[in-house]
Amino acid sequence: MSLLSEQDRQTVRDHLAAISHPVKLLFFTQTFGAPDTVAIAKQVLDELVSLNDRISQEEVNLVLDRGRAAQYGVDAVPAVALLRGEEDTRMRFMGAPAGYEFMSLIEAVILAGTDDSGLTPESKALIAEHAKEPRDISVFVTPT
């Protein structure tokens, strides 16, 4: 059963058409003691993957594959890391990307799948000049 109406699926499909690189959604989960939101997240990712041939997903078990989870800085589930091909885009989602966050996930997928960050030249220049050490930006959101 699809989460989105056929009309919404087509709208998202149209947005995703701009993707030129393969995008992999690394989905971090666990077998025991997983919150219910893991199932919701899985549904959302399944839906997204079905809308564009260049988008794929791979499940990583937090407990069984601790090293890989640590490699991506993930210590809780559900979590999603976005890769462009096999390269980390450094974008993460913690929690089921439902509701408004689904739109953010689509935007992130487009960022991963295309070559332009969409930032202004001024922003790009500031980042090039001033981002010299690891910087972790966490944006807290809610599903509504």
Partner: protein, 61 residues
């Protein structure tokens, strides 16, 4: 910003699922952005302001 620089990681955190984190950073309204656990940005800012704040630069730069 994350795709633009290898130094930057950007995470969207669903606050109701990670309440310990939300509590730790005193998230009472969203969006709230926390950079390196110390810089706090409340609400949605226009891009130039957000980028400067996230980079730890003064707003007038």
């Amino acid at each position: 910003m994350a795709v633009e620089s290898p130094f930057i990681r950007a995470t969207c955190v669903e606050a109701t699922e990670f309440m310990d984190l939300a509590r730790k950073y005193r998230v009472t309204g969203v969006p709230k952005t926390v950079v390196n656990g110390s810089i706090e940005i409340l609400g949605a800012l226009p891009e130039p302001m957000f980028v400067k704040a996230a980079l730890g630069l003064p707003a007038e730069s």
